[in-house]
Amino acid sequence: MSDTDVQRRQFLKTSVGAAAVAIAPGMLLFDMAHGKSEPVSSKVRWGMLIDTAKCATGCDDCVQACNKENGLSGGLSPTDSQWMRRVDLRDMRNGRELSLPMMCQHCAEPPCADVCPTGASFKRADGIVLVDKHICIGCRYCMMACPYKARSFVHEPLHDQKPDVPRGKGTVESCTMCVHRVDKGQQPACAEACPNKSILFGNLNDPESEISKKIRTVASTQIRADLGLNTGIRYQGI
């Protein structure tokens, strides 16, 4: 090998090294996923208190926000997914009317998880009930077990899902309490969208949280409390 070759090689090596050093710091700034690196813990139990007195008749801002956040079509046919629906109630004897949003109640003892044959339906340590769609086989036992009719089955292939909310044909899905937002420290989309602030989101296990304080002072109801499921969603004024 001639002397020129050696020098040339040396030069190339040095310049490649210099280029790597020059590029590396910028590359290291590459934005990693944000969020916690700790697993969620049962010290937290996420829940909501819904004040039906403040929930305006005819308003469905929470439902719209849910559809937008999670990429749902908003259609109402039997094969469209509905994670949250507005329910209007009327007392036939005295004509009292009220509206409330109805969705997965995030039970402490979720019947959907009990009946799931694959373990796809599960409750996270912080009380959020989810479907692990990677192992859901679409049998829909959970839909039959849920007393709140909160779950939907995806019948058709989907396109352009939200990056944070993967959804796909052949799996069951329901309200995730906007788990992707909660993990970032944000509120669920419905709670944020409510114009009357009638959805209060917070940690039921923290005695100092706003939701715990309110549950201590006002009368709140769990829907179908007789089932003993200990729901994470509580209603006030029904």
Binding site: A20, M32, A33, L130, D132, K133, T171
Partner: protein, 116 residues
Amino acid sequence: MLLVLIPAQAATESYGMPKLDIGKGGHCVADPQWMRVNHMKVLFQQRDETVRLGIRDGKYSLKNCVECHASLRDNSVIGRADSFCEGCHRYEAVRIDCFECHSSKRSSALAQQESK
């Protein structure tokens, strides 16, 4: 980084492996050759941790793969013979079903689409 890429490039040419549109590219979370062999294992591991335990800052995130490696032409990692994911998967005849549920588009592109 460049030193790692050079042998990989040579291998691509000599074995007739697919040429991929690697999008923005840049420094991968691990050595590219290692990723070719092991990406499915680390993605599976991390997906379980994320879904079940809520750990969201792992480095082997499918969303991050797409963010860097979606083609700059159509913002997607699938759909063409040289797409970052589909290119190799077609070559290896391995069905890829991640994107039946997960978004194959770069999230910044989706945000732009929405604002229109």
